[in-house]
Amino acid sequence: MNGPHDLGGQMGFGPVAPEPNEPVFHAEWEKRALGITLSCGAFGAWTLDESRHARENIPPAQYLDASYYEIWIRALETLLERHGFASDEEISAGHKLQEPAKPKRVLTADMVPGVLARGGPCDRPVDTEPRFAVGDRVRTRNFNPVTHTRLPRYAREKTGVVEAVQGSFVFADDNAHGRGENPQWVYTVVFDGGEIWGEGADPTLTVSIDAWESYLERV
């Protein structure tokens, strides 16, 4: 979707504000927000792709005004409600009002080291050979789905070169919507700055994206 999250090349946000000796967390609630988000992810009720899409769906004015942990919490509440674990009414009341859906698992403290150390690999085998090879010139497709995609707007209908065939991975655009993992080959495609930004582009700049095969057409 062409949401507020798709920020590459937008202007007006001012300078980057590096913070010397930045703490890991800036408030106690950020710690809980991280832990709650990861704990709820362990339910197995939604995928990381679905949670990314929930974040993208926060209305633009709110998304751009929110800290990233606030974005996480807003999206998490959407997911908890959608999947029957907790309602806005309950969170606003601060107490359980009805029985939740049954999660596949509840993350307990003893499970944390193993779960974090394993992570969630999303490479998957596919039956087909990669359609593109290193050095191939490719053009990204032009599309504007209302659903999840990981092809940023600035990189649509641009011509670049395949720099690496990175393996086959769960296709985020499908997986975010419960349409299955449908793995595809992923390629690192590199573009000249001028191809993306046109006049006035930094001549020393190249930008790469990691693109699923169906984002690409042969030139």
Binding site: L7, A27, K31, P100, D123, F169, I209, D210
Partner: protein
């Protein structure tokens, strides 16, 4: 979910802020209480997650990877070919480090990592991302004006240095291996790791010279 619940919407708030989120401390506390009452989360698990990223998983991990790559050409080759395995050999694995790629700065090319679409970041080697990495200013400008961004970090590169920006749009996570500072031939891996900042491994910084530590 209803984004326009008028019972909770503060119409006087000209920032269009949703009143439910005006006090995040209270909202997150309520959320934790509800989920705990329902038996869906274990507050001790949250403590363990927080402790992991406050004390165990952070940029010190990545600095060890870089220091080893500087010191051991065979390791550097391995890191180039199969970063996930090479990094795992040092004990750094897991969440947001499942599919690692290492990109090496050279005298000709400087690498910079961003996630324009969200906040993808190599947690297993760098820990949790800094606020600026997740904020619109960096995500919007890294791909179009990297030199301007670098300037805000106090980094000025020669005009003819090529800049390669890596937008983390899929599940690959990138760590930059900065160039080894001059005058470090006699340093061991431990001392070298002290020169490797988090920002150097994102590409918004360079490795420190030994005299910068003194």
């Amino acid at each position: 979910m209803d984004h326009h619940d008028h019972h909770h919407h503060d119409d006087d708030d000209h920032h269009h802020h949703d009143n439910r989120y005006s006090d995040m401390q209270a909202r997150v506390k309520a959320l934790e209480t509800v989920l705990t009452e329902k038996g869906l989360i274990d507050p001790a698990a949250i403590d363990a997650i927080v402790d992991t990223y406050e004390t165990k998983v952070g940029p010190r991990n990545g600095a060890r990877v870089v220091a080893k790559a500087w010191s051991d050409p065979d390791f550097a080759d391995w890191l180039r070919r199969d970063a996930t395995a090479a990094i795992a050999s040092l004990g750094f694995t897991g969440r947001q480090g499942e599919h690692m790629r290492a990109v090496f700065n050279t005298p000709e090319t400087h690498n910079l990592v961003v996630c324009t679409l969200c906040s993808c970041y190599p947690w297993a080697v760098l820990g949790l991302p800094p606020v600026w990495y997740k904020a619109p200013a960096y995500r919007s400008r890294a791909v179009i004006d990297p030199r301007g961004v670098l300037d805000e970090f106090g980094v000025t590169l020669p005009d003819d240095t090529k800049i390669r920006v890596w937008d983390s749009t899929a599940e690959l996570r990138y760590i930059v291996v900065p160039t080894r500072p001059v005058g470090t031939e006699d340093l061991d891996e431990e001392a070298l790791a002290d020169l490797v900042t988090r920002d150097a491994m994102i590409g918004t910084g360079l490795a420190l010279a030994p005299e910068q530590l003194r």
